[in-house]
Amino acid sequence: MVNTYKIVSLGASGAGKTVFLSSMFKALSIQGDYTFFLEVEDRTKEKILNAIYANVVTGDSWPEGTRYSEVSEWTFTCRVQAPTLEVYTACRFTYFDYAGGRLTDSNEEDPEFDRIVEEATTVLGLLDGRKIYELMKEAKNFSVDTFLKKDLPSIVKRIRKSTVPIHFVISKWDLIEDEFSLKQVRERLLKIPEFQELIRMRNAANSPVRLIPVSSIGSGFAIPQPDGGMKKISGAVPRPFQLEAPLACVLPDGLQARISALQKKQGEIEKMPIGTQNVFSGIISVFGRTSQTVLDVFGALAFLLPDEYQFARPVVTVLSRGLSYGVGKHEQSLAERAEKLKQEREASLKLVKDEASSLQHAVYNFAVIENKLMRNFPESELILT
């Protein structure tokens, strides 16, 4: 049985949620630098994503009213091609696209949505890079206003109650990167009170939040024009940038958040007066008492985790190495880890022969990607000091 990880994607209309998925699919649909690939479960949806990405590059707009606007669920199968060319399924990722209009225009409570978020492994909050660029330029215009008053607050409002890990993805990074660093963008975003408050709450729950810059076309493909359009550089080939990072962080962050929740529960139980504890709490306190590291907690309490986190021990070992959330991630240790991970990943590809071994191999890839993100953008991990 293959595990499915659910991701709720949030973003204002036009923030490019589907464009993000189409670019991610473009970047990961053929096994190459990363030794896994994604397949779209539905052929028609695959063709839609394929065509949307081509439109991003050609600059054509997608015709209004076509079927893709109705798609609210995209399932990607993560697969590994062994050196024998046999293909094995590692896991699935399902993205629930939360309609942009519904997100920003409604103030009502939405228990159905809250339930979906609660079940999700991570939330993907898509931030429009063009609006952020204008915000950084301190432009006083409609789009900056919309971003500050509508787009960002509505995402924050929807997820502040939960403890699900969040990946804030900044699209169109190619527009920003020449003028601003991620550190600068992060500092600016943290000046927004709702945003800062959300990060503080997630930090307290030890649930990961990341700020991940991506670009569908990469740098050096097109030059932005004053009118908002893009002029392509002749002969340039688009190189999707870092689109694999949010996907790769789903599993490590999801596991981290679940383990943190267990640790929290354990702490609460230990403080409970005797007599109010029940059988369940007894189990947690007995098995988890001395648990500190992710691996320890997992070893002791894995049976309390949902099915999709019931990993074989080698998988947890790989995941847990990157999970010392917020501690000791210095460049030197990251560099050493990168080298080690690459060697282990290569060795594990040769062992791929079924679903379990292909999941383990995919996890090595996720760890390689997460490690690379941490090296290139240490400030992408949102931890308030």
Binding site: T44, N50, Y53, V57, T66, Q81, L85
Partner: protein
């Protein structure tokens, strides 16, 4: 129809890449045994007429309309002629044709006929991935005005094609550049290959994965019409050169590359069968039941001597005084009678033995005939296949000589 092996070949190509034109040109080029020591036959006469119609359209400077609607399966028989000029089927292959739009178009008119590529690829014996030469030309030229077409080709068509190729397991898969006539005088295959590997990540990765798995991968340029038959016009259309003749270029080469491995495997299998048939015993020994065997034993040994014994001792050698003894006479009479019974039995048993031996001899002869016949069938099939394989090997060698860079397994990846 003979029971020769069939091989399914899928040609992956987007709309307009030239799948159907390639098919009709392939058939036309190979429908008569000439330079190559085999020829193609279409199993269905209606299909043959259709292929000829396509070809006439090309001859008159037009193109057959794009394939629409249902998936078509064209069954070709690869035949050889023996020295007595008898036609002999060596193998059969099925060319699976479909509307290229099904590969990429979301709102394809042919949506109702959606072709399950993954399932078909799973079943296929070989895959040819067709790269549209016209799009490739624009890609090579890199003209500003062609940007949109090239972008669509690189970002939509190629990824879609490569995702399907990625699914192919260890079956022969080769890349075919159609419309090579457009590129032939402008670019070398090496330039095209290098540019593709440099700029089209999906292509590079898929080729690398297959090469790493020790699967041969080739980039094969073909032209269904040949050089100088048509010239491209400023508006993008093609115009027939007056008086020019069709001269298909290398259309047979992809076939030679995708089928040889399977055919060689079949030949090895036939060789094993030959050995097996030759080893099979053909001499049949007569079979007798237990009582038969006992009778036979007695009739051959004990009984005749017993008979002789009676004659010799009881009758001939009896002392005279006993010859009038009635009781003894009676005994002798009885003995004589039983000897007659025994004689009859011996006769019958010997007849039986003779009959069984005759049957066995007949059966042996029948089996020998059968062995000879099946050996002939296998030998003929092997001969026919070897014929085709020799031709294919020759075609392969020629490509390797003319376009050494067509081998993608080597340098540059």
């Amino acid at each position: 129809m003979s029971n020769v092996n069939n091989y399914d070949i899928i040609t992956l190509g987007t709309s307009g890449a030239g799948k159907t034109v390639f098919l009709s040109s392939l058939f036309k080029s190979l429908s008569i045994q000439g330079e190559h020591r085999f020829f193609l036959e279409v199993s269905d006469s209606k299909m043959e007429r259709l292929l000829n119609k396509f070809y006439s359209e090309i001859l008159s400077g037009g193109w057959p309309a794009g394939t629409r609607g249902d998936i078509q399966k064209w069954v070709f028989t690869c035949c050889v002629k023996n020295q007595n000029l008898e036609q002999y089927p060596a193998c059969q292959f099925t060319y699976i044709d479909y509307a290229g739009g099904l590969l990429t178009d979301v709102d394809s008119e042919d949506e109702g006929y959606d072709f399950n590529f993954d399932q078909e690829i799973e079943k296929a014996d070989a895959v040819l991935a067709l790269l549209d030469g016209l799009k490739l030309l624009k890609f090579m030229e890199g003209k500003e005005s062609d940007n949109r077409d090239v972008d669509n080709w690189m970002q939509r068509d190629i990824p879609s094609l490569m995702r399907r190729v990625q699914k192919c397991k260890k079956i022969p898969v080769h890349f075919v550049i159609s419309k090579w006539d457009l590129l032939a005088n402008k670019y070398t295959l090496l330039e095209v290959r290098n540019r593709l590997l440099e700029k089209v990540n999906e292509f590079k990765n898929v080729v690398k994965n297959r090469a790493d798995a020790n699967c041969p991968v080739r980039l094969i340029p073909i032209s269904s019409i040949g050089v100088n038959f048509m010239t491209p016009q400023a508006d993008g259309s093609m115009k027939k050169v007056s008086g020019a003749v069709l001269n298909p270029f290398q259309v047979e080469v992809p076939l030679a590359f995708v089928l040889t491995d399977s055919l060689q495997a079949k030949i090895s299998q036939l060789k094993m069968e030959q050995e097996e048939i030759s080893r099979r015993p053909t001499e049949i020994k007569p079979k007798y039941g237990f009582l038969n065997r006992l009778d036979q034993l007695l009739s051959n040994t004990v009984l005749p001597s017993y008979n002789a014994l009676i004659n010799q001792f009881l009758i001939i050698n009896l002392p005279e005084k006993y010859k009038n003894n009635s009781a003894l006479k009676e005994l002798i009479k009885l003995t004589e009678q039983s000897v007659k019974v025994v004689d009859k039995k011996i006769e019958r048993t010997q007849e039986e033995v003779a009959r069984k031996q005759e049957q066995a001899a007949q059966e042996t002869a029948r089996l020998r005939r059968l062995q000879e016949e099946s050996l002939k069938v296998v030998n003929d099939e092997e001969t026919a296949l070897s014929h085709v394989v020799n031709s294919f090997t020759h075609i392969q060698k020629k490509l390797a000589e003319n376009f050494p860079e067509s081998d993608l397994g080597g340098l540059g990846i």
